[in-house]
């Protein structure tokens, strides 16, 4: 009778939530490709895709269809198992992060409180970092298994870049975590719901985090693993069909997730600015939770737009410049930020007495 005492409602609720989150992040990643092309076009005084559907709204479907129709090529000299596993790993790590993100407040369904978060674990941000650092495996394995010198070099670049920038990213977050005093993402959001977003306390930390997020997502100006003028096509040179699509897709999912985390940590997450959310819950009920989700999405979409805006403005860094910026620029800056924050936090803790 152990099974009967199990909370089946919880399983169903989480299963629904997980499928919604996965489908939503895939659809958003799809439309990011469309958005990217549109933003690129508009910045370059063009119109961009506008033939498939109204304003090219069906373009991502056409792109996906094209990728599925392409011939699947696995090079003879490649390590076949790892070659297939590479894009899968990239996608898996990209999707796993979304488990701990609070997408909104909570819904009241049949007398139950359903939080809009898959798992509210108390080490949320640590989990995110653990999964994100696994993301380098997709790049590494794909690049190595292709048995191609260019891919291997691109993979090495990607790995060293991700590892170097993860350091600065972690350090910039330590300063933030000293202020929040918790690793749970939901608690961090709730602390900001008074309107005092963390960006006001940690502007420098935010800038470091943002730059590192660009590097982690392999976005311009840090897209050295895909530097096509130097490395042909980068680590996914040998890939074709939907395996290539998975790599490109994983990149966009990563971008979405990193924007969500940025919004959660620094911009109050699902908090609606200038509005008392708890009061809103009394008036609107479940609609307030949906409004919060929409608010989070608005913040995220703005973040994604900034990512794209930067991509189509800034040229690529040279490799030594990249390493200089990471190790000699961002890490000392993050350390200094951490020390200053620690001093101020300690002072505040002692009621401003030395």
């Amino acid at each position: 009778m152990v099974l009967l005492s199990f909370d089946w409602f919880l399983i169903i609720e989480k299963a629904i939530l997980i499928s919604i989150v996965i489908v939503a992040s895939l659809v958003i990643a799809m439309y990011e490709t469309w958005g990217e092309r549109k933003v690129a076009a508009f910045i370059q005084d063009r119109i961009g895709p506008d033939r498939a559907g109204f304003g090219g709204i069906l373009q991502p479907l056409a792109d996906g269809m094209k990728l599925f129709m392409k011939e699947e090529i696995i090079p003879n000299s490649s390590n076949k198992f790892l070659f297939v596993m590479g894009p899968g790993l990239a996608m898996l790590t990209a999707m796993m992060t979304s488990a701990v993100i609070p997408w909104g407040g909570h819904l009241e369904i049949m007398g139950r409180t359903v939080p809009l978060q898959i798992a509210d674990i108390n080490i949320g941000i640590l989990y995110v970092f653990g999964v994100v650092s696994l993301g380098v495996y997709g790049v590494m394995i794909g690049g190595w298994a292709s048995n191609n010198k260019f891919s291997l070099m691109a993979a090495l670049r990607g790995a060293s870049q991700m590892i170097s920038y993860e350091l600065a990213m972690g350090l910039s977050l330590i300063a933030l975590l000293m202020l929040t005093g918790t690793l749970s993402l939901r608690t961090i959001v709730e602390q900001q719901s008074t309107g005092h977003w963390n960006i006001w306390y940690q502007p420098l930390g935010f800038i470091i985090f943002f730059v590192c997020a660009l590097a982690e997502c392999n976005r311009t100006p840090f897209d050295l693993p895909e530097a096509e003028s130097e490395l042909n096509f980068g680590y996914h040179q040998e890939y074709s069909s939907m395996k290539l699509g998975f790599y490109l897709f994983a990149e966009y999912v990563n971008m979405f997730i990193s924007c969500v985390i940025m919004a959660t940590l620094f911009f109050g997450g699902y908090d609606i600015p200038f509005v008392n959310d708890a009061h809103l819950y009394e008036i609107w009920g479940n609609w307030a939770a949906l409004a919060q989700v929409v608010m989070l999405m608005a913040k995220v979409i703005f973040g994604i737009f900034v990512f794209m805006w930067i991509r189509w403005t800034v040229p690529r860094f040279r490799y030594d410049q990249l390493m200089n910026l990471g190790w000699k620029g961002l890490i000392p800056l993050a350390l200094a930020n951490m020390v200053i924050t620690a001093v101020v936090a300690l002072l505040k803790y002692n009621n401003w007495h030395f």
Binding site: F42, I43, R46, I207
Partner: protein, 181 residues
């Protein structure tokens, strides 16, 4: 060193200032430029729906003309083929038989008349060379075909519709240029 022209711009080799070294300010300036372009009016012409305005002397695909009774004007004199710098035009002459007066204007006509549109440079010299006003360049452009062979336009492709039988198609093929005499 004295420069030969006064258009020389010396390379700026000053060391970067602090603002330039931290990149951020410069990147922000660059982003301001791109966002200005983001909201700028786009010069794109959406081709199949909108068409660019052409001048009345635009040189498009060729048309073999007919006179007002619908007879072919071309006499296969070969002046256009001689004038053609790309050697895109070939033709074969034939003599008009009795009873074909309603088809051909003069005693000699072109039995075969071909223009290779892949060779043609649309210079309009054939139009200038023609003494009978039989060939001119219309305002049709961007032909598309599946094979190279189909780009060799035969007489059927080039002849203008009969002004008496299909006046509408005739007017369309004529475009908005002045009517030939």
């Amino acid at each position: 060193m004295q420069s030969l022209t006064n258009r020389v711009k010396p390379v700026d080799r000053k060391p970067m200032t602090f603002l330039e070294k931290i990149y951020l300010w410069e990147i922000a300036k660059g982003m301001m430029i791109t966002i200005k372009h983001f909201f700028r009016r786009k010069p794109t012409i959406k081709y199949p729906e909108e068409k660019r305005e052409f001048s009345s002397v635009f040189r498009g695909l060729h048309i073999l003309n007919r006179d007002e009774q619908g007879r072919e004007r071309c006499t296969a004199c070969g002046l256009c083929a001689v004038a053609c710098p790309a050697e895109a035009i070939t033709m074969e002459a034939a003599e008009r038989k009795k009873g074909e007066e309603h088809l051909y204007r003069e005693e000699k006509y072109a039995a075969r008349y071909e223009i290779n549109m892949l060779r043609c440079i649309f210079c309009g010299l054939c139009e200038e060379a023609c003494p009978k006003d039989a060939i001119y360049l219309s305002q049709t452009f961007t032909p598309s075909n599946l094979t190279r062979a189909q780009f060799i336009y035969k007489k059927d492709d080039l002849l203008i519709p009969d002004p008496n039988k299909d006046p509408e198609l005739y007017a369309k093929a004529l475009g908005d240029r002045k009517k030939p005499q």
